[in-house]
């Protein structure tokens, strides 16, 4: 049986292992032009003009566009509607009048060959008059334009009586904590291939994540009827939140295809990627907590500063919104107030990255727990334990909203997972061993961090299942795959619903002409939302088939079941009918090639998985280097469709979280020049920096949302890794809470060690 719960090998893999993947750069269309973007080399300045004459004189250059050529194209909007107050901060597809970060597109070249396009790009001269740069969100805001300041929004979320909490406090703990600028950095850079098909429909290959939403957005920007444009996802070399968003380059490639009448291919290079694709994470928090005599947090007051970069992109304020709403995590926090300042700076614009807002706020919350423990001289695990939301309080309504949904934890037994995780790692024995090693002079310690994740963001998902006479199914979904194994996991859900082998199910995703609407793959939503829609459509098919067989066999439908590809009596007696024959019988009346059912699942609540991360770190006092000896996650997701894939998601997420904790940072010099524009400067973990990882999956708190009990697992590997590593580094150095900033660079660590000496 390869339905839900099976550790099924992925259907995606053989082609990828043979080198037969079809990633964006692998695709071509006859007669295609190659696009190359000319980018600003100045972080902030007035765009006085662009001289493209030398580039245009190169043989093989078909066109060069500058700001005037695209002045009629609307700026890139937000996926959420009604955010008019943010509209002045939207990015144009080529800079208009002013550049706001190094890497901003100022012109675009179209040529017969990609090498030639790069030659031409170097000949395009942008005249930019430099302006003073703003590089910090904690500095006072300045003018963004004549009418708007650089503080684009102030988010406020609060509940409970904060004044009473502080009045009753035995202790007040205050911290300033910041998380550095880093991002998803998938191994495949962005890319697109746009062309007009025989019917004149514009098609863009290389889409990812949210093809349906981007199709509508592009149609609006280009003035097309949505029927005149389709987006298609091929293989995608990693998503992580940043890939598949609508960027200027997507619109430029599509527009050029329409205007120049030829296919246009664009493949980003790595330097461009590191300064043009969404950055994320950079936030500074000031938190004050009212704590009672035993360490229970009565209330928390947090103000934070979100460094948005040069423009507000497609997510609008999703990241700081989630940071503000989910900061309290698994703890009660009877009173809470968050004020988030979303500020524009002269750096690459920010967007979501795996566990957006939660990586940042989990660092803040868990550092706070460690600081409370330090202040009261109590064990950090015990402090966490007394603050946890008890199982009896589920479902737990925070009384605030996020992403337009009420924040209600649907299910969870946080203490049980904490206990299971501590048992799994042998926490006490581990602590004893580490204490022994410290006594011998080693700087080594363990830290842990708890978190609540979110998944299954609605509002809907549609699927259509077609079942043919051979008993093979095709499931068309509006989901997307960014390499996480969607085709396999959804086939398993289909196998469970239809009682046929997963191998007999083909899953279509990421094609806007296959399903009329779809939400795509983000916010850890696919298994919950699309999975439930599949279960619903599958159930309809199952009932239809059983009703048909009931007629054939002259037996009551409620005495029949569909299992193992046949419909038979529940008591096993009498004849059975193969599923394909039952389909044929249904189609005998209606005709057609396949029996078809559609279903739509709607949900206005998210479902909340949760976890514990644990790290063991060793510090080299001489160099300030941190070596991770172990990383571990305990994670409860209600029910795992394919535990092997879930463990893979968690392990990969842990490694990305460790990157942000120790290695990865987009740094800038004082003029706003980016310093991390190669993979030799932007350091990602390798097999050397990534320690043994183990994952404990539990299924103690099934989701009440959807039909499957499933919660998502796409992001829970990453959420609290930074916090856990910070605690481990503190423990290695003797237990004082002093890691206040990520990433923990060797230079920073040496400074802290100097301060504490």
């Amino acid at each position: 049986m390869d339905g839900i719960g099976a550790r099924l090998k992925r259907f995606e893999d053989p082609a990828l292992l043979r080198g037969e993947g079809r990633f964006a750069a692998d695709l071509d269309r006859p007669g295609q032009l190659h696009m190359r973007v000319v980018r600003s080399s100045i972080a902030h300045g007035l765009l006085r003009g662009v001289d493209a004459s030398a580039a245009l004189a190169l043989p093989g250059v078909a066109a060069v566009w500058t700001e005037r050529d695209v002045a009629d194209i609307p700026r890139i909007g937000f996926r959420m509607m009604g955010l008019t107050h943010l509209e002045p901060y939207r990015q144009p597809i080529l800079a208009q009048d002013r550049v706001r970060y190094v890497g901003e597109p100022v012109a675009v070249v179209f040529a017969e060959d990609p090498y030639l396009a790069e030659d031409a790009e170097e000949l395009v001269l942008a005249e930019i008059e430099p302006l003073p740069v703003l590089l910090s969100a904690t500095e006072a805001p300045r003018d963004f334009s004549a009418t708007h300041g650089t503080e684009a929004a102030v988010l406020r979320k609060s509940y409970g009586d904060l004044d009473a909490a502080f009045a009753a406090a035995a202790h007040v703990v205050e911290l300033e904590l910041s998380v550095g600028r880093h991002s998803g950095v998938p191994l495949e850079t962005r890319g697109a291939l746009a062309y007009l098909d025989e019917e004149g429909v514009l098609r863009m290959l290389g889409a990812a994540k949210v093809p349906h939403a981007n199709r509508l957005a592009l149609a609006r920007m280009l003035g097309l009827d949505p029927a005149q444009i389709h987006l298609h996802e091929g293989h995608v070399g990693g998503g992580f939140g940043i890939r598949g968003e609508l960027y200027p380059e997507d619109a430029l490639a599509c527009l050029a295809t329409l205007r120049l009448g030829r296919p246009v291919k664009w493949i980003e290079d790595r330097r461009e990627h590191l300064m043009a694709a969404n950055h994320s994470r950079q936030q500074t928090h000031r938190i004050r907590a009212a704590v009672d005599a035993v360490g229970f947090v009565l209330g928390a007051d947090v103000e934070f500063f979100h460094d948005q970069g040069g423009y507000v992109r497609t997510h609008a304020v999703t990241v700081p919104d989630l940071a503000a709403a989910m900061l309290p995590g698994p703890y009660v926090f009877p009173a809470y107030r968050a004020v988030g300042h979303v500020r524009l700076t002269n750096k690459t614009p920010g967007g979501t990255y795996r566990a957006p807002g939660r990586y940042e706020s989990s660092f803040v919350r868990e550092r706070l727990m460690d600081a409370v423990a330090e202040r009261l001289g109590r064990d950090p695990v015990e402090i966490r334990r007394i603050n946890l939301i008890p199982r009896e309080a589920m479902p737990f309504d925070r009384g605030i909203d996020t992403l337009g949904t009420p924040l209600v934890y649907d299910s969870g037994d946080y203490e049980k997972l904490l206990d299971k995780t501590l048992r799994h790692v042998g926490w006490e024995a581990l602590q004893a061993r580490l204490a022994e090693r410290r006594a011998r002079g080693e700087r080594v310690g363990a830290g842990l961090a708890l978190f609540v994740e979110k998944s299954g963001l609605g509002p809907f998902d549609d699927v259509r299942i077609e079942l043919d006479r051979a008993g093979r199914a095709t499931i068309a979904t509006g989901a997307a795959s960014v390499g996480q194994g969607v085709a396999t996991a959804l086939a398993q859900v289909g196998a469970e619903a239809l009682g046929i082998p997963a191998a007999n199910i083909r899953v279509i995703h990421g094609q806007t002409d296959a399903v009329s609407r779809g939400m795509g793959a983000f916010a850890t939503r696919v298994t919950v939302m699309t999975g439930t829609a599949i279960a619903m459509a599958g159930e309809k098919l199952r009932q239809k088939l059983i009703a048909q067989v009931a007629l054939l066999l002259q037996r009551p439908a409620d005495r029949l079941e569909l299992v193992g590809g046949v419909i038979r009596a529940t008591d096993g007696s009498g004849a059975s009918v193969a599923i394909g024959d039952a389909v044929a019988a249904c189609l005998a009346e209606t005709g057609g090639d396949a029996l078809c059912e559609e279903a739509s699942f709607e949900s206005h609540h998210m479902t909340y998985p949760y976890g514990v991360h644990m790290a063991v770190a060793r510090v080299d006092v001489e160099t300030g280097g941190v070596v991770l000896e172990r990383l571990m996650a305990g994670y409860d997701m209600g029910r795992a469709v394919n535990p092997m894939l879930v463990e893979g998601q968690i392990a990969g997420g842990l490694a990305q979280g460790l990157g942000g904790a120790l290695l990865e940072e987009f740094r800038y010099d004082a003029e706003g020049q980016p310093l991390s524009i190669t993979l030799a400067d932007y350091l990602m973990p390798t097999a050397n920096e990534t320690p043994e990882i183990d994952v404990l999956l539990t299924e103690d708190a099934p989701s009440g949302i959807g039909l499957l009990g499933v919660k998502g697992a796409g992001e829970g590997g990453t959420t609290a890794v930074g916090a856990a590593i910070a605690a481990a580094v503190d423990a290695a150095l003797g237990g004082r809470v002093f890691v206040s900033k990520l990433p923990i660079s060797p230079a920073q660590l040496r400074r802290w060690m100097g301060d504490s000496a």
Binding site: K9, R10, E12, D13, P14, L16, L17, R18, G19, E20, G21, F23, A25, D26, Y115, G184, V185, P186, L187, E188, T189, H235, V236, G237, G238, G239, F240, D269, R270, V482, G483, Q484, G485, M644, L645, E647, G648, Q649, A651, G652, G653, L654, A655, Q656, T678, L679, A680, M684, P685, T686, A687, N688, E689, T690, E692, I693, G717
Partner: protein
């Protein structure tokens, strides 16, 4: 720019191509030979996604020009499986151990590991981590890549347990 003729073999087959001297080996393989299994992740020699074997040595094909491959014997990911598509033991181990997610870095890891497994000396844990740390993967956290190469090494009798630390 003037093109030059270059002759080399890829996966045992002789290829004669006309390329500009500045064209990288990676682009030559992808565009001139149609072998798009070799992927470009950074084009500056860090990520290793474009690793191929040139005369038996793992090589970043983004850091070598096509014209430098004159007379060379090149192996790419397309040459690993049997002609009927049957996966070889290393590819199978990646499949069975969930050693890939998006699959973009996979060809580079496969070629690097192919070299590791074909060396005369047996492989141990330290060497495995050390060598595989020359390539980047952004999806897996490396655990299952390491497990896959370990499994393949055992199957091919190329594995040795390290001396206990």
């Amino acid at each position: 720019m003037n093109k030059r003729e270059v002759v080399f073999t890829v996966n045992g087959e002789t290829r004669r191509v006309l390329v500009e001297p500045r064209r990288t080996l990676a682009d030559t393989l992808r565009e001139e030979c149609g072998l798009t299994g070799t992927h470009l992740g950074c084009e500056h020699g860090v990520c290793g996604a474009c690793t191929v074997l040139v005369d038996g040595q793992p090589t970043r094909s983004c850091l070598m020009f096509g014209v430098q491959a004159e007379g060379a014997s090149i192996r790419t990911v397309e040459g690993l499986a049997a002609p009927d598509g049957t996966l070889n033991p290393l590819q199978r181990a990646f499949w069975e151990n969930h050693g890939l997610q998006c699959g973009y870095c996979t060809p580079g890891f496969l070629m690097l590991a192919t070299w590791l497994l074909e060396r005369p000396t047996p492989l141990d844990e330290e060497e495995l981590r050390h060598v595989l740390s020359s390539n980047l993967c952004r999806c897996t956290g490396y655990q299952n890549i390491l497990a896959a190469v370990r499994a393949a090494a055992r199957e091919l009798d190329r594995w040795t347990e390290s001396a206990p630390a």
